[in-house]
Amino acid sequence: MHPFTYQRATTPAQAVAAVAPAPGAAFVAGGTSQLDLMKEDVLRPSLLVDVTALPLTTISALNGGLRLGAGVSNTAAALHPEVAARYPAVSEALLAGASTQIRNMASLGGNPLQRTRCPYFRDPAQACNKREPGSGCAALQGINKVHALFGASNSCVATHPSDLAVALAALDAQVQVTGPNGPRTIAFPDLHRLPGDTPQQDTTLAHGELITSIDLPAFTGRSHYLKVRERASYAFALVSCAVALEMEGQKIRRARVALGGVAHKPWRVPAAEALLAGKKPSEKLFRAAAEAAFADAKPLEHNAYKIPMGRNLMERALLETSGLQPLQGPAGTAFAASVGGVSGE
């Protein structure tokens, strides 16, 4: 790990003032992904500004929704009774991610900002435009099994690893940010960007901008998160799906679906969402929506398996959210979110 200097901030303004003028500076909260990448020599910040002492660790009511402080731990958010009851997709996404220890350490503000798990990004001996712009993309012709189906470019085919981000995209959460040019609000689907020619930029945040809260809008529908992974627990998603479903009588008033593990950002599927609106839930409808969602998928050499897997997963997530099929475990737990069950029982 390269040497760096360390500062502890006590207010968001102080943290921003410390990071914004220093190009090599970064915020640090849970550090679970960041320190790992620093040990791998992928990240080399010259200054770390500790934001764990900032007063951003509460969950409060806001306009019929919830304001989740950016410093709230993944565990605290997932187990919060209001979150688990009203936004089970959020709790399910959080609890189906990482391990108990990592969830205890990780913060809600940091989670969506974690870097890709592309193995070429994480190995400084490999070409990676995200890590070293202009060096090329080793994944493009390499083992691209865990890579993107949508929105990729010749510069980068990485996917975004956060489970939480997928749920927040489906729920149209809002991200409150403060930075050198003052506060602003970002709609969650606009927080992350596609790689294009500048894959080194994961998000639309400017240097020195700090997430202060994630706001969940008022929501009275059902939500659910479903994830396929290679191990029963403690693994990143191969493909995942978050659904937010609002009903009107027997019919779907509005459906929002976000896919994880398939793009550089949580991948909303507007064509499928439009197809679902105003219809009565059925297996046939959900199958058609899943077909529509993956119609434009562009597989690489090793990741075409994600297309049928993703279609099946999305169909099942819709069936379970609508109640046509039972959840596999109690809503709001890792057991509801894990395809194939948890822990080999």
Partner: protein
């Protein structure tokens, strides 16, 4: 006699790390989804024993041939800084320092570069490709001993000492004595009954001479093959930190990059907390921070100030084991025991909420703690007993 070089900086210092040579490719090394599943470093150092070592420009700007007339230990290691490696470098250099090259050169100077990159051009000349390796050259610059340190292994100090001993003019046969048995005999401390740590410390205490060269001169000319410019690194300044561990305040000076795990083990000698993967994948380093389980390998020591830290050493009350420790013993919930402190810390944090969990729920909650001996059924039995007690 040989040229006398200025002593190098303390191993592990910024000067010692200043050269960064990147490998364009590490053969066979592939990390998948953050897990280093395989890292097959198949290439062994290829230089035959007894052959003259190739001359090369060293990171300090000098040529290897300039060091003829004294034994030279070339230590190849990744540039990645690691307190364990730095500690080992200290051991190597002190062993070299303590080594008396013989009556012919009482003022002999020994040399050690502790930060030769195992991906760099010098490494390539010695057939080292990515692996940690140690090579010993004699006074004539011939290769007399070499060893590769496999991923996940550490070199035994005795091997280095035995190799050095074999260089003595009266040694029975060059390198033949470089075995662990010989090393053990040479190093065996009087009295016995010492722990491994005490043993190493006792060995080091005999090191009288510490005269090193090389790394301090890292600001010198660079080999033209080293195209990667060195990262301008800030000085490795330490900061004062007060850590509250098991109810006791400890004041120490650490660099900001030191993680809690290393501060516990290396600075405070609380070695109950184990270093497994060092990347947050195995859970061996689990401690409690403010009552919650956390990974000490991914927590900076400086960020732990003001938090209540509990380690495995803090669970027992005197000679009375914590109930979870007793349950692990009763249910034989370990084999080799390396993951056990982390398992117990995760388990004690888990049962604090007094919930009755099913075996499946325990498995899910404990999935961050790997046990390669696969004692999982017994670990679950131990936890189930405590949560129903």
């Amino acid at each position: 006699m040989a040229t006398c070089y200025p002593p190098c900086a303390v191993p592990g210092s910024a000067a010692g790390r200043a050269r960064v040579a990147r490998s364009p490719h590490i053969p066979g090394c592939f990390a998948y989804a953050g897990l280093n599943l395989t890292c097959s470093m198949s290439d062994e150092p290829r230089l035959p024993l007894g052959e003259p070592a190739p001359d090369c420009l060293l990171p300090n700007g000098r040529y290897l041939h300039e060091l003829r007339g004294q034994p030279v230990l070339l230590a190849f290691a990744p540039e990645e800084w690691n307190p364990a490696h730095a500690h080992q470098s200290t051991i190597f250099t002190q062993l070299l320092g303590a080594f008396d090259a013989g009556s012919s050169a009482p003022e002999a100077v020994v040399s050690c570069w502790h930060s030769l990159s195992c991906h760099g051009p010098v490494a390539a000349q010695f057939g080292v490709a990515g692996q940690r390796a140690l090579l010993l050259l004699d006074e004539q610059g011939r290769l007399r001993w070499q060893t590769t340190i496999r991923p996940g292994h550490e070199l035994r100090t005795g091997q280095v000492l035995a190799a050095l001993e074999a260089l003595r003019p009266d040694a029975p046969a060059p390198c033949a004595a470089a075995g662990e048995a010989a090393a053990g005999a040479a190093l065996a401390p009087a009295g016995g009954g010492l722990s491994r740590r005490t043993f190493v410390t006792a060995t080091l205490a005999t090191a009288a001479l510490l005269l090193l060269v090389g790394a301090a001169e890292a600001a010198g000319p660079v080999s033209p093959t080293e195209t990667q410019p060195p990262m301008p690194a800030p000085e490795a300044a330490t900061v004062p930190v007060t850590l509250t561990i098991n109810g006791e305040a400890h004041r120490l000076e650490v660099e900001p990059r030191v993680v809690l795990l290393d501060a516990l083990r290396e600075n405070l000698h609380l070695t109950g907390t184990k270093k497994g993967c060092d990347h947050g994948q195995c859970g061996a380093c689990t401690v409690h921070l403010d009552g919650h389980s956390a990974l000490s390998c991914l927590t900076l020591a400086v960020m732990s100030e003001g938090r209540k830290i509990t380690t495995i050493e803090g669970l027992a009350q005197g000679e009375t084991l914590h109930p979870m420790q007793a349950a692990f013993v009763k249910h034989d919930a370990f084999q080799c025991g390396y993951c056990t402190p982390g398992q117990i810390m995760a388990a004690t944090a888990l049962v604090q909420d007094k919930q009755r969990r099913s075996a499946a729920e325990i498995r899910e909650a404990m999935s961050g703690n790997l046990c390669r001996c696969a004692a999982y059924p017994n670990i679950i039995a131990a936890i189930q007993e405590i949560q129903t007690a």
